[in-house]
Point group: C2
Chain length 186, copies 2
């Protein structure tokens, strides 16, 4: 997979703009557990996952709570921190050996100034982010522990393989014991 893959979903950008943007990208070969962003620091980069997967989580009352999982072809960053330029409360790490492309906040702003077209691209990333969050919100609001697990299995089966029971349980907002019982009765 090469850099241009990143643009597959993103349309209507001229060659020049594309090349300028690509010139700002940094390629990252990350091992499992590599920290993309760290809680307490201002999020520096917007990442594109070319291969692999990542997990965003934060610590609350000494517990590790998974906020989201990201797969190949998705963008990921500590969006709240990236937007507000305030310290992130989440940490993002790879779940496996991954190939990432990242652009720094400042370079991205420079891109926007130079090529307003890219503002549209970023807008679309934001929109996707928003929709994903909204869907997760609704999905978590009306379903029982069991239904939430079944839905994750259907929508992101790769996560079930890749993440630990603890990660999945906190993402689905239940204890590992409840998850274990749900799995036992499928």
């Amino acid at each position: 997979m090469t850099k241009p893959t990143l643009f597959e979903n993103i349309t209507e950008v001229s060659e020049d703009v594309r090349n300028f943007f690509i010139s700002k990208l940094e390629e990252i070969h990350a091992e499992k557990g590599y920290k993309l962003e760290t809680a307490g620091e201002v999020s520096k980069y917007l990442y594109y996952i070319s291969e692999g997967s990542a997990r965003s989580f934060y610590i609350r009352d000494n517990r590790d709570i998974t906020a989201s999982f990201s797969l190949e072809g998705e963008f990921v960053t500590a969006m709240h921190s990236f937007i507000t330029r305030s310290p992130s409360y989440e940490t993002i790490e790879t779940l496996e050996k991954s190939l990432l492309y990242r652009i720094s906040y400042t370079d991205l702003q420079e891109c926007f100034k130079k090529f307003p077209d890219l503002e549209r691209v970023y807008r679309m990333i934001l929109e996707k982010y928003y929709i994903a969050l909204e869907e997760q919100m609704i999905f978590s609001k009306f379903k029982s522990a069991r239904e939430r697990y079944l839905e994750l299995m259907e929508k992101k089966p790769k996560i079930i393989q890749r993440a630990s029971v603890g990660h999945i349980a906190s993402f689905l907002d239940m204890t590992i014991e409840t998850l274990s019982r749900v799995r036992a009765k499928i």
Copy 2:
């Protein structure tokens, strides 16, 4: 309150751009219960609430579930539908007599083409939307019924006055009975 109030939070737009944008705005005087967007239809407008308040909800298993409350100074639309141009699953209605300004999807797109600066403005609206949703998500994830109610009281006390118990309960993801008990023990 006049149209320019809308721009209070939104900076760095020239007079020309501002005027063009304002020329596309439509003023709406809405009575209580006026439907801004309707489930099943593609969301046509982005609204700005100048005075009043609104509630977004959807129907699931014959139940009316409140997704969000919006107050004066906020933008509101069925964002998912507005973004994807697919039918909305939510309906948005005013909670009281309200003064709104709205711009249609097509006019907004035209604005973006003509004045890329406005793309930035829209991006900022989207960012606010996103952050609000994220905060709501985290807030609902770790709190008990009681804590969720206390937090709503603190953050949007106006809602407690304006909305019915049923609306508030579904928003806080609890039954009206539970909400009633929570309120009894404050």
